[in-house]
């Protein structure tokens, strides 16, 4: 503590964590600490129970009627691959990519702006879900890691696959929940009709320029 407060109850990071005041690095450190310290978890629960009463005055509002159907469709709809790209991936396995138990699920991402292209990346066996949204107006590719993370000491590398050409690395999936990748004009034209994939790689990404670890999720871009 840097405060000059002399107090019987020094402040753990629990309150700041519950309020969202810690930096991402501090928050991860607190989570690690909490996993081995039951009293911190209890303290966090204590803060959360108190703070949540600040929402008591927020009146309930009935959500739109279509919302529940949208939720169940995002959760439960059967996979429906639209293009013949699975064959490409199977072929690529012999060359560079090892496709290991890849679940392919196409999830519509609602509410994109009109001309965005979206891809819902799901690695069901590792609890991964990443939404990729491409904005052709700015050539930016936005990532939202909804759930899941790479294993300790591993990273996810992003690949763009267009036609029969070899996958092009777009760099590493940002460690933060959300992030973006700026595409050059040459790459940007490949997104429409393209496929995006994530592979599991060592820190810093594939050392060879082609995916070295298993492909954990793959999805085609589609109009939102």
């Amino acid at each position: 503590m840097t405060d000059d407060v002399t107090d019987d109850a020094p402040l753990s990071a629990a309150a700041e964590y519950a309020l969202g005041l810690l930096t991402p690095a501090q928050a991860r450190a607190f989570e690690a600490e909490m996993n081995s310290d039951l009293s911190l978890r209890a303290e966090l629960a204590h803060w959360q129970e108190h703070l949540v009463t600040l929402t008591d005055d927020i009146a309930p509002v009935a959500p739109p009627k279509a919302t529940f159907d949208a939720i169940t469709s995002r959760l439960f709809d059967a996979p429906k691959p639209r293009r013949n790209w699975f064959g490409w991936l199977a072929g690529a396995a012999s060359a560079a990519i090892v496709v290991a138990a890849v679940m392919i699920v196409v999830i519509p991402v609602p509410n994109p702006t009109s001309n965005d292209l979206v891809a819902g990346l799901v690695g069901a066996d590792i609890g991964l879900r990443v939404d990729a949204t491409f904005d052709p107006d700015t050539n930016t590719l936005l990532f939202d890691r909804v759930t899941g993370a790479p294993a300790e000491g591993r990273v996810f590398e992003i690949w763009l696959i267009a036609g029969e050409a070899a996958p092009i690395s777009l760099g590493l999936l940002p460690e933060a929940k959300t992030g973006q990748v700026q595409l050059t004009a040459e790459l940007a034209v490949l997104v429409d009709g393209g496929i995006i994939a994530l592979s599991d790689e060592p820190p810093g990404g594939s050392p060879t320029g082609v995916a070295t670890g298993p492909v954990v999720a793959v999805a085609p871009f589609a109009n939102g």
Binding site: G20, A42, A45, E49, L54, T55, P63, N111
Partner: protein, 180 residues
């Protein structure tokens, strides 16, 4: 409004993959959670999308609910609040994820934690009222508007470190008051 026990039962059954219980849970709780995402995001379309993602998280994290020591509505509202604030911050610029807050949980709570929920109601408002008005406001803004230390320092026109010291002192006082 469903009772705490009913909501807990729904969550337990959702953890087993029961879609009917999921629908029941949604019916019982979605209006409150939509109120929260709407309050934070102040945009109906965005609040609706956030609500969808909140229930997707709930479906996937339900099996971890029992171990986190929170009352069911606290767990649900905390997921909704954290997710909405994540989106709000993303709207401003790329920032941290709060989503894990309510979901991380590996160890079982003691009976003491289970008892907290009932005593918490409204107590925080009394304790916030005991703080200087601007400090209480800072806590509320952090929780309900997702303000960071920097946001609060800018709003109050004080240096970042001053803001941090003020708020941490206030949180210590708040903690004392809440534990009485």
């Amino acid at each position: 409004m469903a009772t705490r026990e009913e909501i807990e039962t729904y969550i337990d059954r959702v953890a087993l993959g029961d879609r009917v219980a999921f629908a029941a849970l949604y019916n019982a709780t979605s209006a409150k959670l939509f109120g929260v995402t709407l309050r934070v995001l102040n945009n109906r379309a965005e609040a609706d999308d956030a609500l969808q993602e909140v229930y997707i998280k709930v479906w996937r994290a339900a099996d971890r609910y029992q171990s986190n020591g929170l009352s069911p509505m606290t767990w649900l509202i905390t997921i909704a609040r954290n997710h909405a604030i994540d989106r709000l911050r993303t709207r401003k610029k790329g920032q941290t994820g709060l989503d894990e807050v309510a979901e991380l949980a590996d160890q079982a709570p003691g009976p003491e934690q289970q008892a907290i929920a009932s005593s918490a109601r409204a107590q925080i408002n009394n304790c916030l009222d005991a703080l200087p008005a601007d400090r209480a406001e800072a806590v509320r803004r952090a929780y309900l508007d997702g303000d960071t230390y920097q946001d609060l320092a800018d709003a109050m026109q004080v240096p970042l470190n001053t803001m941090r010291t003020w708020l941490r002192r206030s949180l210590i006082k708040l903690k004392d008051c809440l534990s009485q």
